[in-house]
């Protein structure tokens, strides 16, 4: 019998809920168009719920084509009247101002992000919101320095950018979209995800507070049809989308034959490769971070683990023990490691994959942690002895489910890692520098984490190869999708 560590200690952490006293949510939120909150043309609204309690938090505008038209018109007018005439340095100062306001209200944004999306407060407070502020701060500085980013070229804005963002990092994705667009002199119409609109709408309030000229940023809520209307709108110059490869494909098709530019940040099925000479304990931490960060709702999640056979037993045992200390539960509890699955629909998807994995013959391992009664939850899950042909290995699950395989040689690991239509990210763990550079250069993906995983920074470009997307966001390279060069 393999020796394991017993984590069910008599000393347990008492609940440590983040206070929600200072959070003010309206009963209803309208669209933010032309600097003001305006009701949807249809007069229809839909609920946004807390996935940890299934309770309604607020309701938001259900926007249709008329609202999209209005928002795009407003963005166009703002582009013509204000933003294209605004001195670049002044544009930058607006962005600095937004960055500062976010820092001041960081706690509020973090709590709402966790309420609306289900992610643990630990992450929204230490990852999401600080990165949001940092992203605005970073791009603010670019506004009057664009000529230096593109040697020998004259730089001009595109015009109006339509931006559609996902529910896994709601405010962070809004920042990834808005900050570079504005820095480059574009105006935007942003559509947050159906299940997580609240922080974007709070951002709208903040943008009002920052006195940004009306219409430079417009935020409209809705579901897929709203996004589709935005993609189809003839007066939009560029579409930036983050979401599934399936929807990305539809958007690419919609845009065929138009002159619209586009960037797509889509799905992934990243390989995280552990070599026998790696710092194994930190690698285990990296595996944990790679797949359980944000409930696994991460496009760049390290969802395929490859462990070199000589250390496979060791790594799996350590991984199982480390997983046992993970706490699943109330997203607002400061000690929660894994929060609520974002929606009923997503939970169903994850559960169906867990069934598929078992049917396919992979060996299921889940931790024994208790789960709350209400809400949408999933235990940290491993599938051992998975194979390349399994659906749980090929398809993006977007949940806390890790498919584990072993490998013998580096060549085999590279071949398996690249044997996927995706190419967003990858991980390599080895103490040997030469090997690290060899493998990182062979992995066909836009981001490679060597001896670390799921690190993000506004200065570091992010984006996919192959079916994981088109274009980069973040860093110097993240400016390109928002400019014309002449």
């Amino acid at each position: 019998m393999e020796r394991r560590i017993e984590f069910n200690t008599s000393w347990q952490y008492s609940p440590a809920p983040e206070s929600t006293d200072h959070i003010v949510l309206s009963k209803r939120y309208d669209n933010f168009i032309g600097g003001a909150f305006v009701p949807p043309a249809s007069g229809k609204y839909f609920d946004t719920i807390n996935p940890a309690t299934e309770e309604k938090l607020s309701e938001v505008a259900l926007s249709d084509e008329a609202d999209v038209n209005r928002a795009v018109e407003s963005a166009r007018e703002a582009f013509n009247r204000y933003w294209s005439k605004c001195l670049p340095a002044e544009r930058g100062k607006y962005l600095y101002r937004i960055a500062r306001l976010i820092q001041e209200r960081a706690r509020e944004f973090a709590v709402i992000e966790s309420l609306d999306g289900g992610k643990p407060i630990r992450e929204s407070r230490t990852v999401d919101i600080p990165l949001v502020a940092a992203h605005f701060f970073y791009y603010a500085g670019w506004a009057d320095k664009l000529e230096y980013a593109f040697p020998n070229r004259r730089v001009s804005p595109l015009g109006v950018a339509g931006q559609i963002i996902p529910w896994n990092f709601p405010l962070l994705m809004a920042a990834w979209k808005i900050a570079p667009a504005l820095a480059c002199g574009n105006t935007v119409v942003l559509k947050p995800a159906e299940t997580t609109p609240l922080t974007a709408l709070k951002l709208a309030e903040l943008i009002q507070e920052a006195d940004l000229p009306p219409g430079v940023v417009n935020i409209i809520t809705g579901a897929g049809e709203t996004g589709q209307a935005l993609v189809r709108h003839p007066d939009v110059d560029k579409i930036a989308f983050t979401g599934s490869t399936e929807v990305g494909r539809i958007i690419q098709k919609e845009l065929a034959g138009t002159n619209k530019k586009y960037t797509l940040e889509l799905g992934g099925k990243a390989a995280n490769i552990i070599f026998e000479d790696a710092a194994l304990d930190q690698a285990v931490e990296g595996i944990i971070n790679g797949i359980f960060f944000n409930q696994g709702h991460v496009c760049c999640a390290g969802s395929r683990l490859f462990v070199q056979e000589s250390v496979a037993d060791t790594v799996i045992r350590k991984l199982k023990d480390r997983m046992e200390s993970l706490i699943v539960g109330n997203p607002l509890d400061k000690n929660t490691d894994i929060g609520a699955i974002n929606s009923r629909q997503q939970l169903d998807t994850i559960n169906s994959y867990i069934e598929i994995g078992q049917k396919e013959g992979a060996e299921l391992y889940q931790t024994s942690c208790p789960l709350p009664e209400r809400g949408y939850w999933c235990r940290p899950t491993l599938f051992l002895n998975a194979s390349q042909s399994h659906r749980i290995v090929q398809e993006e699950i977007f949940g806390p489910v890790l498919a584990v395989q072993t490998f013998r040689t580096a060549e085999e690991a590279i071949e398996k890692a690249n044997n996927t239509p995706y190419g967003l990210s990858g991980g390599v763990w080895s103490d040997k520098g030469a090997k690290v550079f060899k493998i990182t250069s062979k992995i066909r993906s836009g981001v490679v984490w060597a001896n670390t995983y799921n690190k993000f920074d506004p200065t570091a470009p992010f984006g996919g190869y192959k079916e994981s997307g088109v274009g980069r966001e973040g860093g110097l390279h993240g400016l390109l999708p928002y400019v014309n060069l002449a």
Binding site: A256, G257, L264, T452, K455, D457, P461
Partner: protein
């Protein structure tokens, strides 16, 4: 002066026989067969089809291979096979190979000029085009070990990590060469693609296909690895769909598609989300047709993270 040029000048196939009958030139001329270029070999199209290329005056110059969907498929297989080796060559080496291509082209200027004239260019234009094509290869040869420096970044991240972003080739690129400028257009589209380590499958100009096949012969003897560049002659109307829908092609580069054609390419590209790069080049002799941003069109940026610690 080469035979071909003489012929072209006279612009008449009848004169071939006339010339052959002259006392100073009694031998029968060996006519050239124009085939495809796939994986370093010169096969005929598997379909056995051809079309008659004619001078502007309507005289037949050659029976040109009319590549099929299967020829394209074979070319993609060759390109995929060649990709990793070509991409793995040192930048210095790729630069030398491009420069070697320029040298070879220079050495066969006359042939290229006369072929262009044969295909309808006037002589001055042809001379200018060949000169520009040679210089273009030299230009991109020089970029081989520099664009990475210009377009890379070391990113000052907040955490204790060394973080850098650099361009990597996309993979297999399908190139729809422009109809005009059978040589310069071809070279201008291929050079930025391959200097960055991509392999490619090129559909040559339908109007001036001869230059592309002669160019292939030149590559064959200038150290370009087999399969890194593959050239098909054929009909755009027939092949466009296959160029843009093939699942193992990473990008499509074009420069003069009609809007309906472009829409078709962009729609079929959705199959595997391939990148569609439609260059808007009006003047093939200007800087818009030669700059490092064109190399970046078929590059992906890869960001790598590594901890800094003891």
């Amino acid at each position: 002066m080469s035979k071909a040029r003489k012929i072209a000048k006279n612009d008449s196939l009848e004169l071939i026989s006339a010339a052959q009958n002259k006392a100073e030139d009694k031998r029968l001329e060996v006519l050239k067969t124009y085939k495809l270029y796939i994986g370093g070999a010169f096969p005929r199209t598997e379909s056995g089809r051809y079309w008659k290329l004619k001078t502007p005056a309507g005289k037949v110059i050659a029976n040109v291979s009319r590549a099929s969907r299967k020829d394209f498929r074979n070319a993609v297989v060759a390109a995929r096979r060649a990709f990793s080796g070509w991409a793995a060559k040192t930048a210095y080496n790729r630069g030398q190979i491009l420069y070697r291509m320029a040298e070879m082209l220079e050495g066969r200027r006359e042939q290229f000029i006369s072929e262009l004239v044969l295909q309808g260019s006037n002589e001055n234009e042809a001379v200018r085009e060949v000169n520009a094509a040679i210089d273009r290869l030299v230009y991109y040869a020089g970029w081989a070990d520099k664009y990475q420096q210009v377009f890379s970044a070391v990113n000052p991240v907040q955490s204790s990590h060394f973080n850098f972003s650099l361009p990597e080739p996309m993979g297999v690129v399908a190139v729809i060469a422009p109809e005009s400028h059978g040589l310069l257009g071809l070279v201008s589209c291929i050079a930025p693609v391959i200097v960055g380590g991509n392999s490619c499958v090129v559909l040559s100009s339908e109007k001036q296909p001869l230059s592309s096949i002669t160019f292939a012969e030149l590559m064959e003897s200038s150290d370009v690895p087999a399969g890194a560049i593959n050239i098909l002659t054929g009909f755009r109307e027939e092949l466009l769909e296959h160029f843009s829908s093939h699942m193992d092609v990473n990008a499509v580069v074009s420069s003069d598609l009609e809007s309906a054609e472009l829409k078709e390419v962009q729609s079929s590209a959705v199959s595997n989300l391939k990148r569609v790069i439609n260059l808007k080049i009006k003047d093939w002799f200007s800087d818009e047709a030669q700059n490092p941003y064109l190399i970046m069109e078929t590059q992906e940026i890869k960001t790598t993270w590594h901890p800094i610690g003891l």
